[in-house]
Each structure stands twice: as C-alpha cells, then as structure tokens.
C-alpha cells in the first residue's frame, strides 16, 4: 500500500452546521489530528459529497478517511469506501440529537464534538487496511460425517452445487435409522398415509453423484486445521487410515434410541410384546403390509396400544426431560400400519399432548378416519396378564383409572443425540480459573467423571475433541435467528444431533448445513471471516517475543481458534477466527492485535480526548459499548430525541470480550471520572454473539477492583451493564444516573497527573 494519507470530511448537514462550530472541528483535525486533507461539506452524503471523497481517494492518494457526520450505522451506501481505512465521527446521533439546542448546552456539546473528532483521528492513525491472510487455505471439499438421511442429504445437496464430498459412515452401509423404517410420515399432500421412506433413492443419488466419495465402516480419528485447510484421518475398521484434506465439515452423526430397559414400569423387558417404535418398524418390515405378528408367539396382533412420551418429558432419573417431537406422528403412522392391513385391529394411542404441528394435523385426522383411537391419559403400568398385556392408565378426560388390554404395546421412546464428548465442564472450569496451568488438569478431571463417550471428530483443538453441547447434549446453535451458528468455524452439525427431528425436518436442515459448509470454504479461501463479522478480512497477529504463555487467549477464545505450539505459545488458526477480539481482551501483556482493531485503535481514542482539569467540574465518562446491541440502542435513543450527558465519550467495541483491562485502567489514570461498559446479556440465555464476551468482561472487571483499590479509587468508577438493543429509553437513563453518581463521588483525583 502506498504511503499513508489521511483525509477528514466534516459534514454540516442535518443541523450539524447550525449546532456545531465545524470550522473549529476542521482546525482540530488539521492541528491535533495531523490530517493533511480536511474538507467541510453542507451535504456530505449526496452525490457531490461522495464524489469529492472518491476523487480524493483516486486523485489525491488518500488512504485513510474520517467522516465526521452521522452514525457509522447510517448512510452506509454512500460512505461504503472499502478500498480505504475508514473512520466515522458520530456528530449527529452521537451528539446533536442527544443534546438540547440551548445556549448553555452549546459549550459542552461543542467539547463533545471536538473530542469525538479527536477520537476518530486518533483511531484512524492506528488502523491499517487488513493485508490478505497468507495462511488462507484453498481446499473446497466437504467432509460429511454420518451416512444417514441427514448425512446423505447434505452430501447430495452440496455435491449438486459442484463441490467434492467425502462421506464417512461408521457402519457397513448407508441409510442410518431411516433404512430401518418400513415407511415414513408423509411430508406433502394429502398427508393421509405413510409413504416410502425414500432411503434407497437417497442411496442411489449418492452413488449417482460422481463428486461423492463414500467411506464405509470408517470413522474420524483425527481432525485438525481450519476452514479451507482441515486435515482429517479417516480410519477403517480394518485398521488402515487415510489422511484427507477438506475445506469444511458437516457433522451428521444422528441419534441413538433411548434404552427402553430403563422403563420396567412400562413392561419393557417383562414381555417380548412390549417394544419400542424402532422394533415395531422391524415387525412391520417383516409383515410387508400384511398383518403384523407379535414377537412372543407370532400371533397376529388384534389390539395394540401406543404409549406416548415413554421416558420423555419427565424429571424422573434416567428419563429425558425433553420431547422428541416426531413420536406422535410416528405412532400415528405405525397405528396406520395395523389399520391399513386390517381395519378391525384395535389401535389405541395414549397421549398427554398430541403434538402434530403443521400439516401433521391432517395426518392425525386421517388416522382418526381410519379408526385409530386417541385417549388422553397418563400411563402408569404395563404388565403381562394371561397371554396379553394390561395397560393401566389414568384417563385424563373421564378422570378415572382405566385399563386397556392389548396383544402388543409400543413405547414411544426418545432420541438421544450422538454429539460425542461433552467438553463444556472442562472449558467452564478453565474460565473460572482464568486459564493457566490448572486448565489441562481440570480438563482431565472432568473427563474422568464422565461416562466414556466416543468422540465423533477427535478434534486436535486445544479446547476439546468435539463441538460444544448446547442443552441436553444436543450440538445446536444457541441463536434463534442463526440456527447454523457454530462455535467451531467451518464445522456444522445437522439433523437429530442438533435437535430431535423427523425425516422431513432433517432433510431441510441438512440442506441448510450444506450451504453453510459451502459458504465456509468460499469465505476461507478469500481469508474472510464468517458470521457474524462476515466479510471481515482482518485476523489476529501477536508479538511472540512479548508473550508470557499464560494461555488466557487459548482458553478464552469462544471458537477454539487458538491452539498451542510445542513451546506452548499460542498458535492462531486465522481461518477459525471470528474476529471478536476476545483474545485481545484477554491478553495481559497486550501482544495480540488486528490490523483494523487493536489495543491502540481504542486506547489512543481514549487518550486523545481533551481532559479538563479537576476544577472545571466537567467530568469525563468513558463508555465502551458493544457495537451489536448497546451502540444501536444509543443511536435509536438519538433518533427518538432522548437526551443524555455531554460528559460521555463513547467508543464502540466489537464485543465486551475484546475489552482489555488496560483501557479501563489507562482511562482512570488519564483522568476519566468513570467508565461504563455496555455489553449483552450473559448467562444461560446469553445474547452475546461471541458467546462469552459479556461474561468474560464481567469476570475481568471483578478482578479490576483490586487495581482500583491500589489506586484508592471508588469501585463505582467502573460499572458494567447488560444492555439489550431495545433498551432505547434505558440507555440514556443509565448514562444520566451514572453521571449523577459521578457527581456525588466527585472528580477523579488523578486528573492532570
């Protein structure tokens, strides 16, 4: 890149010109901001203003641009110059819209603007247009782990888009659970009868797609690398292992059936005629649309009872707390097996809530039409009684104790995800310890107390061998708007390993996951970040010589992007990185930085503000605001014309996780009277888009108290808040309350030192 040239553009539109002394701002830019080119414009975002900037870039060789106008969230089309380093000083939403247009307010408002401009100039000096990552991978093939419906679908769909697929299945054949089904629940009009499971068709298309390379009787024994450059060991039962390179990974490891032996009260194990839904499918396949015979003596079944929610939706030890979603429709389908073969077979479904969402309702009606009886009841006991089975249950409608006798009882048991090893306990442990030596040991401890589970991916990642689990062992996204959000970049799960699912949902899900895996490789080869900072070309770099190997970064990275090399130095896998800056915030010696976001880009802004001395009675409050939620809330407060204190100086941060405590201590040292950190909700239902950012910030700030005590500063000088994007009224209120509090406790004694 040619030598650096910074230009500042001060807009006078939207009332900025009337409310602020823009000449003074221009002067500040020239003198203090050391900007060679400074222009004012009455309407910067119009065609003329934009072309002025464009010409300076093309003609004057401007490389760094500061736009002093509206919020960075506004007018992004006009100001979208992505070939230069860009900074925005928020004079509109950040200042004039939140300040009263009065004489007495004029001075403080102008000071606010002066500082915002200083901050923008300071920041731009330390921003570099990111270089393209030298270590970006180039492999666009996709590994699919699991040969069931979800795996095959993902493989086929990705292959149809022209990508090479490695499909690894641990058994000897493709098909998974669905291959063991007689038929499946219908997914289209008229939603009336069971339909062909369609597995053979899937298998055919897998064979047909020449881009798909299938490995049977194989599993993944090692996975390392990053999007665009994963390296995986695929080991066959035979013992031989091949190493393959892929660009991204889809984990379609499916589910295991719940072990009905844990339900003796429902007669399982006491009579061969008490079976689960999977076993009924086998009987149905044997019957081949003819009469289904019961296991005990091969007698044709004349009456069958389906017990819903068997070992599910229950707190009892060994039961599943959740609902497996598909079982109601599955029992309806299976009842139809009987009715379609012989309408005289008594089929009773005992349910609590019948859950057939969407067009499942049509399927439910169809079953009723066929004479399937649905009884709302709570099953209590199933026991063999002279050659038959007696199902004792509480009839919730007639409100009495009832019993049904049947030749066969089918238990609707649940799905348990094959999500591999639960790495969370270890990880949590480390966060509490703040990383360090105890980490490894904590990990092993928790491993020991765990029931041994086979790892699915055997990741060589420092943070564990499998994907983090969300709840009840499912490896799902935590986000409602972003179902494919993953904490291991380039690795996506799909199908029942994410959430209990039926076949139709699974196929939809697998197709979605296939897209994300394609997106991952396409971005990886360009060195671009994946969601939520999609398109970001920056990546973390660190000064090895300064590093103390404390491992905080490797422990705290929410995405397991950082490993350790043989000398236990952090090993950054740029393509796994999501650019949240959590590592940067974690580093006690501040050796980690991004080209466009670093300890300096923020630190220098903080230092750049003009600090009035103690007797001016003009406190300065630093606000570090999460750019995803708190900062937009501030913008929208401005839109609503809500006012807040002129003493705040606001710096948007990528995530509170990126906040390095040095910023806070420096701020206090340089005379700020208080620091407000505004981040997202933490805890179980956290809303931080980088998982732990807000939580880590709270943890770090709790540690900062000691420092404050050493400096003999009140703990109130640093406050951290959980702010939602909708806190449009609350945020200004928080600010004003805090300003008042600072007023109470008085000025920071360190001013002027």
């Amino acid at each position: 890149m040619s030598e650096k040239k910074t230009a500042v553009y001060v807009c006078r539109g939207c009332g900025i010109g009337n409310r602020l002394d823009t000449d003074q701002l221009a002067k500040i830019a020239e003198s203090e901001g050391k900007c060679s080119l400074v222009r004012q414009h009455d309407f910067l975002c119009n065609a003329d203003g934009v072309s002025t900037i464009r010409n300076d870039i093309d003609g004057e060789g401007v490389t760094h641009v500061v736009i002093a106008a509206c919020s960075r969230r506004a007018k992004t089309d006009a100001f979208g110059f992505d070939d230069v380093a860009l900074g925005r000083a928020n004079l509109r939403e950040g200042i004039i819209w939140v300040r009263p247009d009065t004489e007495e307010a004029r001075e403080t408002t102008q000071e606010m603007a002066d500082d915002f401009l200083r901050m923008a100039c300071a920041e731009i000096q330390y921003i570099k247009q990111p270089d393209t990552n030298q270590n970006a991978g180039t492999n666009k093939n996709i590994l699919v782990v699991g040969g069931g419906v979800s795996g095959m679908t993902a493989a086929i769909e990705a292959s149809k888009a022209g990508y090479g697929i490695l499909l690894v299945e641990k058994t000897g054949q493709l098909g998974g659970w669905a291959a063991k089904l007689h038929k499946r629940v219908p997914d289209r009009e008229p939603f009336a009868d069971p339909v062909d499971a369609g597995v053979s068709d899937l298998v055919k298309s897998v064979e047909y797609e020449k881009n798909i390379n299938v490995f049977l009787n194989s599993s993944i024994t090692r996975t390392s690398g990053a999007p665009g450059q994963f390296s995986v060991d695929i080991s066959a039962e035979s013992g031989e292992t091949v190493t393959e390179n892929v660009g991204s990974i889809i984990q379609a490891s499916g589910f295991s059936g719940y072990d009905a032996n844990q339900l003796p009260e429902l007669g399982y194990g006491k009579s061969p005629d008490v079976i689960d839904q999977a076993e009924l499918e086998q009987l149905a396949i044997q019957a081949a649309d003819g009469p289904i015979k019961r296991p005990s003596d091969g007698k044709e079944v004349e009456s069958v009872v389906f017990v819903q929610c068997a070992g599910q939706r229950s707190d009892e030890p060994g039961h599943l707390p959740y609902c497996s979603g598909h079982c109601c429709n599955t029992s309806i389908k299976q009842a139809m097996y009987f009715k379609d073969a012989n309408p005289n077979v008594d089929t009773v479904v005992i349910f609590d809530d019948l859950r057939t969402p969407g067009n499942g309702e049509d399927f439910y009606r169809s079953a009723q039409r066929k004479g399937v009886i649905f009884t709302k009841g709570k099953p209590q006991q199933v026991s063999p009684v002279d050659g038959q089975l007696e199902v004792k249950f509480h009839d919730m409608i007639l409100n009495d104790e009832a019993a049904a006798t049947a030749d066969l009882v089918v238990l609707a048991t649940g799905q348990i995800p094959n999500s591999g090893v639960d790495i969370e306990p270890a990880a949590m442990q480390e966060v509490e310890d703040g990383g360090g030596e105890s980490a490894a040991q904590a990990e092993t401890e928790t491993r020991e107390v765990q029931i041994p589970v086979e790892s699915i991916l055997n990741l060589t990642y420092r943070q564990g061998v499998d994907l983090p689990h969300l709840r009840h062992g499912f490896s799902d996204s935590h986000f409602i708007c972003f179902p494919y959000e993953t904490q291991r970049s380039g690795i996506y799960t799909c199908g029942p390993v994410r959430r209990p699912m039926d076949i139709a949902q699974t196929m939809e899900d697998a197709t979605g996951a296939a897209l994300k895996s394609i997106q991952a490789v396409e971005n990886a080869v360009l060195g671009r970040a994946a969601h939520p900072r999609s398109g970001d070309l920056s990546f973390p770099s660190f000064r090895r010589e300064g590093c103390t190997q404390c491992k905080r970064c490797t422990v705290e990275c929410p995405f397991g992007a950082i490993d350790e090399d043989e000398q236990r130095y952090p090993l950054f896998n740029e393509s796994r990185c999501r650019r949240c800056g959590t590592c940067m915030g974690a580093c006690p010696v501040r050796v980690i930085s991004f080209d466009n976001y670093s300890v300096d880009t923020v630190g220098q802004q903080i230092k750049s503000v003009n600090m009035p001395d103690e007797f001016d009675e003009k406190p300065r409050i630093l606000i570090l605001a999460c750019e995803n939620d708190a900062y937009p809330a501030l913008d929208m407060a401005a839109q609503q014309g809500l006012e807040y204190s002129a003493f705040v100086r606001i710096v948007p941060v990528r995530c509170l996780g990126s906040v390095n405590t040095i910023w806070v201590t420096d701020a206090l040292n340089s005379g700020y009277d208080g620091v407000m950190l505004m981040g997202c909700k933490k805890g179980d239902d956290y809303q931080c888009h980088f998982v732990k950012g807000s939580e880590l910030a709270h943890y770090r700030m709790s540690k900062i108290d000691d420092t404050l005590q050493q400096l003999q500063l009140e703990p109130e000088r640093v406050e951290i808040y959980e702010v939602e994007i909708t806190d449009i009224q609350r945020v200004p209120a928080l600010i004003n309350e805090y300003a008042a509090k600072i007023d109470e406790i008085g000025m920071n004694p360190f001013k002027g030192f």
């Binding site: 149809k160 289209r188 179902p483 939809e508 396409e522 239902d685």
Partner: protein, 430 residues
C-alpha cells in the same frame, strides 16, 4: 447493497422478512448475485414487529441489526423496496421477471433527519402497529427501518401537506413526481419467501373479535409490549385504556379447525407461553396479575418443552384444557367472559378476564396457488416442493407454519437449491 445488473446467474428473492433476508444474505455470502424484492418500504417483516422471541426471550432486533449490517456491507445484493413481483415466466436457469415498484416519493438523498414528518400534520394508520396507532403521513416505518429513508404516504400526495413536506426538506430528497414503474429482470432461480399473515380473527365469530374491544390477537398483544408501540409498552385494555392484569389466552384461534384453518399453526402454543411471561414482567409481585391459557394440546415440541415446564412452574400462569365455546362481554366493565368446559373432569366455567388474547393462526400471506408463477400448493396454500416448480423454491413461512428458527433453516436450504441452479448455469456458460 448495489445496483448490479441481474442475469441468469442472479437469484431473485421475493420477500424481505427474516426468511427472505436470510436467503439473500446466505446466497450472497457464497458469492452469488441477489435481487431482493420487498413490498413494504423497509425490510424486516413480521419478526420486526415482535417484542421477544421464544424460548430465549431475546430481542428480534438484535439479530436484525446483524443481518442489516451484513446487508449494508454486501455488494452482491440489490434491494428493491415497495416492490412486488408481477410475473415470473421461463424455466430453471432462465427466468424473466417483471416487478412493479410503487413510488416512495423520497429519493436516496434522504438523511432521515425527520424534518418532513415535523412539517406534516396529517396522520394515517400505522401498519407496523397493526393500525392500533396513528403516525404522520411522512414517516420512517420503524426505529430500525432499512433503508433508513422516510416515506410519503400516497394519501397526501397532491395535497398541501405534501408540498409542506417537500418544502421542509433541505436536501431535495422529496420527489412528488415519482410514478409507479415496472421493471423487467432476468433470474436463474427464484426464492419465494413471502411469509405469513395472521388469520382474520373477525371470522372466528364465537370470540367476538369484531364486537368486543377487549378481545385482541396475539400479534396485537406483541405490539403492546413495545415501549414505542401503541400503548407505550403497557398492557392496556382497548375498552377503557386501563391496565389488563387478568389475561386469557385462547389457543387454536383459527387453527386446527375445519371452519377456519385445518392445519396447526405450530407457533401459537409457544407464542402464548412466551406472552404469559410478559405478564410476570409487567406486574412482577402483583398477586392479581395472572395468565390463563385455554388449550387443546400444548405443542411445545423438542427442547421447547423446557420452556413449557418453566412456564408451568410459574404460579401466575394457569392452564385449562378446553376450547373456549364463546365469549360474551360485560357491557359496563368491558370485561370479557369466557364460557366453556374444562375437559379434564368437565367443570363448566364462565371466567371473567380483563383481556383476551387470541393465539391467532398462521396462513401464507400469498397463497402459493395464487402467486405470479406456476407452483405446487398444499391444501393450506403453503408452497410445497415439487419438480414442476422448476427453480422456484419456497422459503420460510411461505412453505409451512414455522417458528423463526425453522424458517431461517428453510431459507438457508432454499438458498442452496437456488445456488445449485445458478452454478449449473455458470458452468454451462463457462
């Protein structure tokens, strides 16, 4: 956001709700060119009108902010607002699409400074708030509206008011001469994401939505919770503006019913469970505040069950297994009286409530058998996958009654199906 030219390798996405937005972004972030068509003045769709999401009770605008940032940053997406697809003709990989664009009367000079709104006095119904509120006839549809650009309502164009607005604009952003225009574009594949609409509650006559002010729909209740909504974030009874504390929720309002929608709308159970927590949120510690949920089956499938159990544990929330027979009104107090039988033991009830919220059913906002292209529809009017659809793929609630999470999955899947087609086109042309 650009004005790139559409070709056979372009993907057309119809609908700028969360499904369409997702489909467009996911495809564009795979390097595909996308034209995104939205009939309203801004993107966001129904989720933008929600207060919280179940089961996390997080804020829809939080995810929207991220999607908007992705949209603003992406040069491969061309967004057309106030635009509707009139016709789609052709075959997979080669579609001709005609799109009409209604005049916004505001060009992209607009800085969203709001001067026009201050100048105008005429007020119109606010569709964003289901017409429970009035807004100026020069307006920004909502706080996070994108494009962040005002709209002049056609009703004032040609009037004194319009010229007042024009005069107030310092940036020559108001163009009252704008006309409706029809444009023709090419597309290789189409993603149909026109979403859902609430079933017409007035048709559910026994519940008297058209007769009793204190019978409202779940979508209207959602708007009440917004601090910038029609009631300033309070739960107020339309009858007298008093706070409603004893609130009834009626499930399957229009769903699972041969007189209305035969399908189950899937989301309504979770929506009411979610909304029952609003009551705790507004009246925490208030013994009089209670929610009563009248249901047939609570359909909180998979991990949603966790949320159901959480709500069941809340002593403010009561469940009655009953389809309410009918509602009457106390003329003096405006209270609504729900009549029916608790089917668990057959106890008759005539329960008085401050407010009744109908968990209203979901129907496709455009029936697939009525869209401007030839696609297969199921009996409820949702688009169903079919070879005959060519490269027109449904996404989100245009294909089924879905919650947000499933809608986004569906949209992501649709994006890949579209990509498969345009990739075939490009490899053929390469």
């Amino acid at each position: 956001m650009t004005d790139m030219v559409a070709t056979n390798e372009t993907i057309l996405v119809v609908g700028g709700g969360i499904s369409g937005l997702t489909a467009a972004l996911e495809a564009a972030e795979c390097g595909k060119n996308v034209v995104l068509v939205e009939k309203n003045p801004s993107v966001g769709g129904r989720v933008a009108q929600l207060y919280k999401y179940f089961p996390k009770l997080c804020r829809p605008s939080c995810g929207q902010e991220i999607n908007l940032r992705r949209l603003k940053a992406n040069k491969r997406i061309r967004l057309l607002t106030m635009a509707e697809v009139r016709n789609v003709s052709g075959t997979a990989g080669d579609y001709d699409v005609s799109i009409t664009i209604r005049p916004r009367y505001v060009n992209d000079n607009c800085t969203a400074c709001g001067a026009c709104a201050q100048a105008v006095t005429t007020e119109i119904d606010d569709p964003f708030n289901y017409n429970m509120k009035k807004i100026k006839a020069a307006y920004l549809p909502y706080n996070m509206a994108y494009p962040q650009r005002y709209v002049i309502d056609p009703s004032i164009v040609g009037s004194e008011e319009a010229s007042k607005a024009k005069a107030a604009c310092a940036y020559d952003a108001i163009d009252l001469e704008m006309q409706e225009q029809t444009i023709a574009i090419k597309a290789g594949a189409v993603i149909w994401a026109t979403g859902w609409r609430p079933y017409d509650a007035a048709k559910i006559q026994p519940y008297g939505y058209d007769r009793y002010p204190n019978v409202i729909t779940s979508v209207e209740f959602e708007r009440m919770m917004d601090p910038f909504g029609p009631t300033g974030g309070k739960i107020l009874r339309p009858f007298d503006g008093n706070e409603a504390k004893n609130i009834a929720f009626i499930q399957c309002a229009g769903s699972r019913d041969r007189n209305h929608l035969t399908h189950c709308s899937r989301i309504c159970c979770m929506a009411s469970l979610k909304q029952s927590t609003y009551i705790g949120e507004q009246y925490s510690g208030d013994a009089d505040a209670r929610a009563t949920i009248y249901y047939i089956d609570i359909r909180a499938i998979d991990r949603f069950e966790d949320f159901y159990r959480k709500v069941q544990a809340d002593e403010k929330v009561h469940f009655i297994k009953s389809k309410v027979a009918n509602i009457t009104e106390n003329r003096e107090s405006g209270d609504v009286v729900l009549h029916g039988v608790d089917t668990e033991g057959y106890h008759r009830y005539d329960n008085t409530h401050d407010l009744c919220v109908l968990a209203i059913g979901m129907e496709p906002s455009v029936r697939a058998d009525q869209i401007a292209a030839n696609v297969s529809a199921d009996v409820s009017g949702f688009m169903q996958m079919d070879a005959a659809n060519g490269a027109i793929y449904g996404a989100g609630c245009a294909t089924n009654a879905l919650d947000v999470n499933r809608a986004v999955q569906s949209a992501t899947a649709a994006a890949l199906r579209a990509i498969q087609v345009v990739n075939r086109v490009s490899s053929a042309e390469a």
